[in-house]
Symmetry: C2
Subunit: 255 residues, 2 copies
């Protein structure tokens, strides 16, 4: 990771860029036409006078990587653009959870006291394909929160939860490679894409997960704040940015 | 991540492989000459009748990715080889820590009650380059534990802590790209390597960190258990394995 000193240097430059926008360029947006290898989709209208709020759903059995990779990407935006993204975890009762790998991770909020969420992130859990889908209060919260959010992201089998909540209808999506056959059987009406790191369609981003969970989150940062900010965040995590379509195959749908 | 069902299938196959070793092949070792693109180093003599113990040092300000990426790789071995690696976190006083990104993560052990460690892992923290180096009890623990461990791994600026503890003398090493100049100035007697994901020299593995923290941990799994096991772990995290020298440049020193 970049050290705070270097992060603050990055923030200083970002702040300068915001103070001196090129004519016709929105604060935080890239001035070049964009070096990402996918169609550039215009961001949803989002507030620029406060941090966006990214809420990560955690329950017992959540997988570390699928939680931490996008968490780090979105959290590090605050060192490269102002205001960046405020990230937090939400568990149903606000209590800590035990991850699949055996770590205890705290929750910042419960379903009862969580503030409005702009970016809902649903990492995979050990129960994403079955137990979580039968948890009515969990699924109700995901459905309601996802409907109100500006963006919804799943990592790995988190796509099963979004599908179960009806948030993927009419959209192209992806999930963990080893579970794609099961996904296709369980949700035959959905447009499953394979052999790609992630899909962005409408307000929904779905990722294969695992170590590829960084990709989709960096893409979202590029989408929201432009390639300069995404490149800064990526550099702090030793990820080349922008990627090529070969190193990071993805499907981006423009409507 | 692979689902438990798939992980258990993997474990089943791994167990079968262990029950039916090819003549002259050690349990858990690859039968082929090895597809990794680096020189294959013979593992240190390690016990095969119990799980290896990997202890991850955590203090306030530890970076999520540098903790979680190698944690997941080493933890997932238990689904692909028997016995795999038992992973746990160690904080100085056994209390939870707050990561750089603001998550609360629990510690399994304190310096006082931690069992002997076979693989010491030192992720970067916000203080790796300064405050941690001035923490005498921390540095003493790292030095003593590192000397007794069979393997020692650092991610990102964790290399500064290992260097400060005298564990990198005479060895080739690497660290976070943006801090390599500072590392070279602070430890001019050490053999710093640049432009590579990780270095393995003697019993020490040092990594650039960030998203590349998966690489070095997968390399260690391949080194300890062979390419079949590493490929299984990698698949669960959507990482192609074995890599090529182009996609994962590294320095492996044979003595």
């Amino acid at each position: 990771m970049k050290t705070p000193t270097r992060l603050l240097i990055g923030l200083g430059l970002a702040t300068m860029a915001l103070l001196l926008p090129a004519p016709g360029i929105r604060a935080g947006q890239e001035s070049a036409s964009g070096a990402i290898p996918w169609p550039r989709v215009e961001p949803t209208e989002i507030p620029h006078d406060r941090p966006l709020r990214a809420g990560f759903l955690i329950v017992d059995g959540v997988y570390n990587s699928e939680l931490m990779a996008p968490y780090d990407i979105l959290q590090h935006t605050i060192f490269h653009v102002e205001p960046g993204i405020e990230v937090f975890t939400v568990s149903p009762d606000g209590e800590s959870v035990t991850t699949f790998e055996g770590l205890t991770v705290g929750a910042h909020y419960s379903f009862q006291d969580v503030p409005p969420i702009d970016i809902l992130v649903v990492p995979s859990t050990v129960g994403s394909m079955d137990a979580d889908l039968r948890n009515d209060s969990l699924m109700h919260w995901v459905e309601e929160t996802g409907q109100q959010a500006s963006y919804v992201m799943s990592l790995c089998d988190g796509a099963f939860v979004l599908a179960g909540a009806g948030l993927l209808d009419e959209l192209a999506v992806t999930t963990f490679p080893g579970d794609q056959d099961r996904f296709a059987a369980q949700f035959p009406h959905l447009d499953l894409r394979r052999e790609i790191s992630f899909v962005h369609d409408g307000k929904v981003l779905t990722s294969q997960g695992g170590a590829r969970s960084y990709d989709v989150a960096l893409y979202l940062v590029d989408h929201l704040y432009g390639t300069r900010v995404a490149t800064g965040v990526a550099g702090g995590l030793v990820i080349p940015w922008p990627p090529t379509a070969a190193t990071m195959p993805a499907t981006v749908i423009t409507h």
